[in-house]
Symmetry: C2
Subunit: 230 residues, 2 copies
DNA sequence: CCGGGCCACGGTATTCAGTACCATACGCGG
DNA sequence: CCGCGTATGGTACTGAATACCGTGGCCCGG
């Protein structure tokens, strides 16, 4: 009844107006007016007109960074898969909101460009992480890290966009399969190979994640025979 | 003695001022003033303040499109390599100008974002081309096309940035090697395999390019045994 | 009940990018 | 000399983004 906080009202008003009149045809004043706040308040909550569409990219970056940080050499690829799944789940959780955003970014090139720039920041995180993981400071390893990061992000985006278009009933399964396919492209680095052929490697570790969220990775590691080997 | 055309004077003035005061600290008026023209003239030659740094991305896009268009199914991967080399050569030909631009994009996030958006457009071209080439309309092929395009572009960017930083004495060789590495990651699609084992496939075609520019691709096709096979 | 600090908010003014419109000068063929 | 196209300059306007200031609520110790 009363009112949700200004931040929410502003976002609601923005999406509504963008739907009605289009992005360029909507001024920040319009948004502030409909939200019942002053123009100043808008910019207090969102750095720019575009930012109202992409509220929490920074938080998402932190999420990825954290997930990657909690990994050892042998669990690096699992961490990558997990981080990718994390991002996907974030959007899936947004539900209809993510789809409205997608509709906007599909039409307005300024927004599409901004989205792409954000994705590039994810990619950078992955690139740096993978390069560290490889250890090898040679130019060839650096190139491979870059390619691998690009492939990882491309796979994620592909599945995400499919879900956004309503073409994917089970995006989590799809992204796990896609990641499996991507990681299979790249042979494992120097790493100490565990034992010989056959058998199962058990890795014990502690994480803040739900077991459910981890299961797909575990299953893939055990069944797929991939994740490290070729 | 007289004066170079306004377009050039504007670009010179812009780069000079960006070096002196920085990008944000330079207004379009400043640039126009130093170039000795009116503010209107600036916007007649460049759509925006950022565009003065990236004059010919559209032309570059056309270049890629054209090169990809002049290819058959069996020469598709050569076309991709060529197109990538084309882009790299474009920047290398710019020489110091490209390096000044790189210095700017490294410091100013707005410019970096725009650069990234441009690269995404190249990537899209490659993605569509590769998807067409694969023919296969299944979701799995579509994913692979996306990953492949991302890998191709990542390889290019990697080499380009190395050259921009002065770390690559022979970027063309490097990019050819990088492309070779990338394409080797992906098994060939359905395509009709030519003959059996051994032998050499000769493909005759006509192109507007210098033979020198094509040689590396040819050599790779003959020697590497890759470009299609695994 | 009362100051005092904190904080969210609103309003005003300013800068600057980008667009629209109009006026002018130059070159060139009729 | 006239007509025409083109490059240019100037002026004015919209709108995003920033800076600054004032104000009203709200909590808290007195």
């Amino acid at each position: 009844m009363s009112k949700p906080p200004a931040r929410i009202r502003l976002a609601d008003a923005a999406f509504a107006l963008f739907d009605e009149r289009g992005y360029e045809q909507t001024t920040v004043d319009d948004i502030a007016d409909r939200a019942g706040v002053g123009r100043t308040t808008f910019f207090r909550h969102y750095r720019s007109k575009e930012a109202v569409i992409f509220p929490d990219h920074d938080r998402l970056l932190e999420l990825i960074r954290d997930r990657l940080a909690t990994s050892s050499h042998s669990t690096a690829l699992v961490a990558v898969s997990d981080a990718v799944r994390l991002v996907l789940l974030h959007y899936v959780d947004e539900g209809e909101l993510a789809r409205r955003r997608y509709a906007l970014t599909s039409k307005v090139s300024a927004l599409r460009d901004r989205e792409i720039a954000s994705v590039a920041r994810y990619q950078r995180l992955f690139r740096e992480f993978i390069a560290d993981w490889m250890g090898d400071p040679t130019e060839s390893a650096s190139l491979r890290a870059e390619i691998m990061a690009a492939a990882v992000v491309a796979a994620h985006n592909h599945v995400l966009r499919r879900w956004l278009r309503g073409e994917s009933p089970d995006p989590v399964r799809e992204v796990d399969e896609a990641m499996s396919e991507v990681l299979a492209l790249f042979p494992a680095p120097s790493g100490h190979e565990d034992g010989g052929a056959g058998g199962t490697t058990v890795v014990a570790f502690r994480t803040g994640q739900d077991l459910d969220a981890l299961l797909p990775s575990l299953r893939r590691l055990v069944e797929g025979g991939t994740g490290a080997g070729h």
